[in-house]
Subunit: 326 residues, 2 copies
């Protein structure tokens, strides 16, 4: 059972000092959501700490307010309420963020991942929202919290990136109506789309080139995959955020129903990102077999290396899932 947004709104209104955070390796939805909520609460007169385990990806630093995000140092903050946004499990907040939030008497957990085990004292988990940013929009706009253009920019970034520019199945009439409302309040969505999608560092082009030169089509062309090795990451001097959306280049190939990227991590583990293009194929199920999770059409997991071993194990499970379709 979820708590209502009005219960959460009341809790936030009653608090004086609040910390807001999201998951490790933040994306557009997590950054947009924490900045939007944090800025609104600050405008409402609260003392706000917007904290993150990891750095803001370079492709999102153009968003106003991201400069307010502090890297978590692990020291417990003296706060009334901690808010976790877009974070499916508590450990996904990161060790240092959990340290910072550890003494909060109240943890609020707002998310759109169905697997979220409701680890907060108050929880609003609703998978009908394509992005946590869409929940934050309703929390702010329906419950009288301040909203300005910078906040709207962050909410749009959250919603637009988590819906693939309104192309994914999670996009709903509500999503479009919220964007319409924000535009009527003055939001320039075209300018944001240019910043979000129409400018990449050359590094990112070099990564795409490596992907196209090295990608594999298997399972009769139904699986497209790529191994992003540590060598390639070093060769292009990869930075966080550079891989954002790269998987779409695999997913869009005609006949492909599953796209997978295997990425060497500094700790020797392999990060798996999987996408489905067939609504009958649930990649989160495959990822769950390896301790991961996510959504039907977009999921991830971490496996022990090396890449070749992870690939063999993951493909084995994925191919079984694909065989069930026919």
């Amino acid at each position: 059972m979820s708590d209502s947004l009005s219960t959460i709104a009341t809790t936030l209104r009653d608090a004086k000092t609040i910390a807001v955070a999201s998951h490790v390796r933040p994306d557009g939805d997590s950054i947009g959501s924490i900045v939007a909520l944090g800025r609104s609460l600050a405008l409402a007169g609260k003392t706000v700490h917007i904290i993150s385990e990891d750095e803001v990806p370079g492709n999102l630093t153009f968003l106003p307010g991201t400069e307010l995000i502090q890297r978590a140092d692990g020291q417990a903050l003296d706060i009334d309420v901690a808010v976790a946004l877009d974070t499916a499990t508590k450990p996904r907040l990161g060790d240092r963020v959990n340290g910072c939030m550890g003494k909060a008497p109240l943890l609020v957990n707002i998310d759109h991942h169905g697997t979220n085990p409701q680890y907060g004292h108050l929880n609003f988990i609703d998978i009908s929202y394509p992005a946590t940013g869409e929940i934050v929009y309703e929390l702010l706009s329906h419950h009288g919290f301040p909203m300005d253009d910078g906040i709207r920019q962050n909410l749009f970034a959250a919603i637009s990136t988590d819906t693939g520019s309104f192309q994914y199945d999670n996009t709903s009439p509500r999503t479009h109506r919220i964007v319409a409302e924000m535009m009527e309040q003055g939001l320039d969505t075209a300018e944001l789309a240019r910043s979000l999608y129409q400018s990449h560092p050359l590094r990112r082009t070099l990564l795409l080139k490596a992907l196209l030169n090295e990608m594999q089509l298997t399972c009769d062309g139904r699986i497209a995959s790529w191994a992003l090795t540590m060598e390639t990451q070093k060769a292009v001097q990869m930075e966080p955020g550079d891989t954002e959306g790269l998987i779409d280049s695999l997913r869009t190939i005609e006949g492909v129903i599953a796209a997978v990227i295997f990425e060497d991590m500094p700790d020797g583990k392999i990060r798996i990102s999987a996408r489905s293009k067939d609504p009958r194929l649930d990649v989160s199920k495959v990822c769950a077999e390896f301790g991961g999770g996510g959504h039907r059409m977009a999921a991830g997991a971490r496996m022990p290396g090396p890449i070749a071993t992870a690939e063999a194990r993951f493909f084995d499970s994925l191919q079984n899932e694909i065989k069930r379709l026919s």
Copy 2:
């Protein structure tokens, strides 16, 4: 002065036999608009001819109703009303379409191009619409014409392609609200987005790979260019439409202000496509020097071959234009 949509609606309601057409080399907006209006009028009991000078591009044939489009044969049709959609000038309908429509006592001209000289007997020209499909949606839904899922699919294709999936400046709150309405009526926009954007033939991926392997960054990284040779075209068995949007992979690189593709044509000429990312850089001016034209930010030209000669001449002029900026 535009005529009102209700005047046009009355005219269409009073007609028994109607021809609907759009411009040569049709795109998503033109195909979606003529099929949507044609199908609705047929459901309303009219005898309808949906005609086109050129073939439906392969990437749009998945749209229901496109099989009803007839290639114009130039023979005058016995019709009460002819409707031109999304067509900025009468000649752009094509010679054979103009032949088919030549005996119509009434020509209705519905378009969103500001340069449209109102060549119809009734004209609705409004540049606040990002797509002609958005005008057709209002014509049908506000004036009681039949609408079904197939019609909505075509209208969505028209709106989505002409707005770059809601990313271009022409996207308005009205655009998002119309999409929300169509979704509430049952439209599956994610399925349409998959067909429109998330499925390219492997040929197209191979072209992108060639582009990334062969592209040149010159003029201190301000020009990104690619020579698409006849050899590459043959190697991937390129078909018309395969290059659509490829130039964006050059344009989106950070620091690039001009993206250019030089393409070997079967007649030995070189087709140049140029894009600017800096509003001060007018690529149509450079293209005009070689007998081409277009808009400030997107233009083209044809030059004598071979590619190396065309490149040298074009770059000479483009670099001069770039030097003027600083």
